[in-house]
């Protein structure tokens, strides 16, 4: 059977307690790094070797990202943990925060050490009230144990960690918007370049990592990058948390190696489609990823393979839809989310998402025009690639994929002014 790296403690009682964590070998990696003579460069090297790629969605190699931080000591450096997990369909970080927060804390300490940060912020999604409490408690435990604070384990290295709760904006999951939010401003993404690694929080070099990414660090240090890289296919080190939701019999978070096929994931692990229905579509990487049809579920779930068929692995949130789903309604629901969450800073996303939602709502109300699907495609084309941050693309890609792959459903709606799949295909409020 597959080795469980991140989820091995989850079923234990009091898995969030430091005792439980330390009993399973927790904080040994930290000890190894701080007292075992690891230099920050060596840590980065080990992480590079592990082929660990960012788990937030973009999949950028973590070691490489850390190495971008300038060595220049004139400015403070910051480590920021992005726990603003808001993508619809994604709930993996929440499990780490709630069930094994110390794995994250150990990871962030090692990461901060590697980039030379003296301060670390954990930016937790506002709605994650309970997880935030758990992490807060875990931080207190770590301070008590001397893993945080001044002169960690006598190494001379000091680190302060602050937990900050967001106010509920999806956009603050975007790293520069998150930094703005941290600085106390409106969560508007920044223009890039400059990238945060050079000009980040308070204009200082900043590394922003996803919760799951950092949770992998202790394991990499303890068991070696080589071992970690071997867990997955080439260039995709380690296992990965997939959040399966939708019309499957057993939705939930699954730790699976990268490269497993979507079919295996759905039928072998999640117990197949509920009520024996036929699968219709799958969104493989969070609601912003282009949708896949039932014919495409033999794809291997790693960044390259998914990208090859025009979608993306993203945050590993797999949403499964069966034959009873009206794709127009599904798209309207997704679009509503992005229209609601668009920050309003740049024109295409601000105006385009709202317009697309209005059109989709109109189609659902039976007032669609034959050329509305074409308009949707044209509008998404005017958003995609034109915006400051990826939210524009996130809103545009589902529209593009839904309308092109399920065009007949949209046309049916527009021509017949009703739905032929769901008898009560209501308009999302």
């Amino acid at each position: 059977m597959l080795e469980r790296v991140l989820t091995k403690n989850w079923e234990k009682t009091n898995s969030h307690k430091i005792e439980t964590y330390m009993a399973g070998g927790g904080y040994e990696a930290l000890r190894q790094v701080l007292t075992g003579g690891f230099t920050p460069e060596q840590v980065i090297e080990e992480v590079k070797k592990s082929n660990l790629r960012g788990r937030g969605g973009a999949g950028f190699p973590t070691g490489v990202k850390w190495s971008f931080v300038p060595k220049d000591p004139s400015k403070p450096k910051y480590m920021v943990v992005n726990a603003d997990e808001s993508e619809p369909g994604t709930f993996k970080d929440r499990y780490i925060l709630e069930r094994d927060p110390h794995m994250l804390i150990e990871g962030l300490i090692i990461g901060s050490y590697a980039i030379g940060a003296k301060t670390c912020f954990i930016y937790v999604r506002g709605e994650y009230y309970h997880p935030a409490q758990v992490v807060e408690a875990a931080l207190a435990e770590a301070y008590r144990q001397g893993f945080l604070g001044n002169n960690l384990l006598g190494s001379g290295y000091s680190l302060e960690v602050f937990l900050i709760r967001g106010a509920g904006a999806y956009i603050c999951g975007e790293e520069t918007a998150l930094l703005e939010s941290l600085e106390g401003k409106k969560g508007w993404p920044r223009l890039k370049p400059p990238f945060p690694a050079v000009v980040g929080l308070y204009k200082c070099p900043t590394v922003i990592n996803n919760v799951e990414t950092l949770a992998n660090i202790p394991h990499i240090i303890r068991r070696g990058g080589q071992w970690y890289a071997g867990l997955g296919p080439p260039k995709n080190g380690g296992t990965r948390l997939f959040a399966l939701s939708g019309h499957v019999n057993r939705p939930g978070v699954y730790e699976l190696p990268l490269g497993i096929t979507l079919r295996e994931m759905i039928y072998d692990h999640a117990g197949g489609i509920r009520d024996g229905k036929v699968i219709k579509a799958v969104i493989p990487g969070g609601s912003s990823a282009p949708v896949l049809t039932a014919a495409e579920i033999d794809v291997k779930m790693d960044h390259e393979s998914v990208a090859a068929i025009g979608s993306m692995l993203g945050s590993g949130a797999v949403i499964i839809m069966d034959e009873t789903t009206c794709m127009v309604k599904a798209l309207a629901r997704i679009t509503k989310f992005y229209a609601h969450e668009s920050c309003g800073q740049c024109t295409p996303c601000r105006e385009g998402t709202g317009w697309m939602l209005k059109i989709l709502r109109r189609i659902l109300q039976g007032e669609g025009h034959a050329d509305d699907p074409d308009h949707l495609l044209a509008i998404q084309g005017n958003i995609q690639g034109m915006t400051i941050c990826p939210l524009g693309d996130a809103a545009a890609l589902p529209v593009q994929s839904f309308v092109t792959k399920f065009r007949q459903e949209f046309d049916y709606h527009c021509v017949h002014k009703r739905c032929d799949i769901e008898s009560a295909c209501a308009v999302p409020a």
Partner: protein, 548 residues
């Protein structure tokens, strides 16, 4: 100096220049809304997208800096960029109300301009526009807000954040419900609030003062210099003399700042901006003489003759000590030079000064507005109209007048009553046989004067001001003087001729030429050299005169 290629044209620009600015130098327009050279880059409107070789995505011209060998195609050459810009413009317009007929911005509106150039013309928008809360509401004493017209370019927000640092305006809410408003019930009240109207590319922020006064296409413009303080902000006078039924026949409709890197950049203060009504209101229109209590209109010829006679008699009977002249730093260098030439050099009068006791309540505001509310104080000084050195001789002149030692007191554009109070000036006027007031507007001093002469106001004048930093700047006339008013120098020439001195000048430039030849501080300066951006007199020269 990176060398870049824009639309097949090569140009070398300084490092750090963005693509919009580089293209501008080549005369290529990159459409934009949120970018303003005086503000930080926001990159929000997405109108300035250009195609850059070796970059897969379109880049914004505002935030992309020129780097060596960059090959850029603007919408004129790139179909991809053009389609993108058209798409962005379409999105900008979908929620914009169609109220151009009532919008003051119409005619100088970025949306209208770009729509005509790059618009799709056929609307695909079938759905209702987003309604916002504030339609035509006041944002402050000078600025009107219409949230629906706003395209959220954030220029105004950045202006109050970066230039005035007052942070009154913010963008609230999210997505297509975003709107601009003032923060926490504050009001947009700072001395530079009018500038947000200038930088607003659409009709979201309009000028309350200009509201519904005149459609902008009726306006003509003329370059001038603000006479409000010694900064001498470069301005444009927007006036309407073609359709006189508009705005009650007022000629000047508004003032706008004119870019001058060395003086005011893109900005001007509200105090200067809204001071224009004096150009058309309460003007002295004809020469008049005070008979008993009332003033009676008279001919220019009679007025000049009367002055000349009085001066000649006073000089003959009582000598030059019997004449006092109070000049004004509101006058141009040309006017002041002639005052000096006529009264000091030719007639030998010593009691000539232009200085008033400083107004203690006026302060520099660390940006544009200066405590000295006169545009040409340094000019008057450099011309040499401070004969008693550092000491201000105005009170002495007035004292002499009140003591009956003056036969003629000639006051230029200075409201003595405002400075010294009504009673002393009335008393003084009663003791001088002839008090002449030559100025632009009626005031209490003109009421007390025995002879009132109408002078042209700055908008009607050709001439130069010297600002506090020694920059000689040229103001051009927007229109002819009102009614019978004449530029001060012409009045002085007529007076000089009536006194038998051959003062003849073709125009203001001829006077300035003589001034430049005779006054070392102005040596080498010509109107052509001043141009539209002014001529800075070297600092050492200015200092040597100020301290001398």
């Amino acid at each position: 100096m990176p060398k870049i290629t824009i639309d097949d044209k090569e140009i070398s620009v300084e490092g750090g220049t963005n693509i919009i600015a580089a293209a501008q130098r080549l005369g290529i327009e990159v459409p934009h809304y949120c970018y303003h050279p005086g503000l930080s880059v926001a990159g929000a409107c997405r109108m300035c997208l250009v195609e850059i070789e070796k970059m897969p995505k379109l880049q914004t011209g505002c935030s992309t800096l020129a780097t060596e060998g960059m090959v850029i195609k603007t919408i004129a050459h790139s179909a991809k960029a053009k389609a993108a810009v058209q798409g962005v413009l379409e999105l900008t317009l979908i929620n914009h109300p169609l109220d151009c007929p009532v919008c003051d911005q119409a005619g100088e509106c970025g949306l209208q301009d770009y729509y005509m150039k790059y618009g799709l013309y056929n609307s695909r928008m079938r759905d209702a526009k987003v309604k916002k809360e504030k339609k035509a509401s006041a944002l402050g004493p000078h600025v009107m807000l219409d949230q629906e017209r706003c395209i959220l370019c954030s220029r105004c927000v950045r202006f109050t954040h970066e230039i005035t640092k007052t942070n009154e305006i913010g963008i609230f809410n999210r997505g297509d419900h975003s709107y601009i408003d003032v923060v926490n019930g504050r009001s947009l009240e700072n001395n530079y609030s009018g500038n947000v109207v200038d930088i607003c590319p659409v009709g979201a922020l309009t000028d309350r003062d200009f509201r519904f006064q005149c459609r902008v296409w009726y306006l003509q413009e003329s370059d001038s210099i603000c006479p409000g303080c010694s900064t001498g902000c470069n301005i444009k006078i927007h006036f309407n003399v073609r359709r006189r039924h508009i705005a009650g026949g007022r000629r000047v409709q508004r003032l706008k700042p004119r870019f001058n890197e060395a003086v005011n950049q893109w900005w001007m203060c509200d105090e200067g901006r809204y001071a224009y009504p004096s150009i058309d209101e309460n003007r002295i229109t004809t020469p008049s003489a005070r008979l008993a209590a009332a003033h009676q209109r008279m001919d220019w010829r009679d007025a000049i003759d009367q002055m000349a006679l009085a001066l000649r008699e006073a000089l003959a009977a009582y000598g030059p000590e019997s004449v006092g002249v109070i000049a004004s730093p509101q006058l141009t260098n040309e006017d002041l030079y002639l005052i000096k030439k006529l009264f000091v050099d030719v007639l030998g009068i010593a009691a000539v000064d232009y200085r008033m006791p400083p107004n203690r309540s006026a302060k520099n505001d660390d940006f544009l507005l200066r405590a000295d509310r006169n545009p040409n104080t340094l000019g008057a000084h450099l011309i040499g109209l401070s004969p008693f050195g550092k000491e201000i001789s105005t009170p002495r002149i007035l004292e002499a007048a009140a003591g009956g030692r003056l036969q003629v007191l000639y006051v230029f554009s200075t409201d003595l009553v405002a400075v010294y109070g009504e009673a002393p000036i009335a008393n003084m006027a009663a003791h001088v046989p002839l008090m002449i007031y030559q100025g632009t507007n009626h005031n209490r001093t003109s009421t007390l004067a025995h002879l009132v002469l109408p002078a042209a106001i700055y908008a009607e004048k050709n001439g130069t001001f010297t600002n506090y930093a020694g920059r000689v700047q040229h103001l051009k006339p927007a229109f002819a003087p009102l009614a019978e008013a004449m530029p001060d120098w012409k009045i002085l020439c007529k007076l000089a001729q009536a006194l038998g001195h051959d003062f003849r000048y073709a125009d203001e430039e001829a006077i300035f030429e003589e001034l430049a030849n005779s006054q070392p501080a102005f040596a080498g300066i010509t109107y052509a050299g001043i141009g539209s951006h002014g001529w800075p007199i070297e600092k050492e020269r200015v200092l040597s005169f100020v301290t001398a």
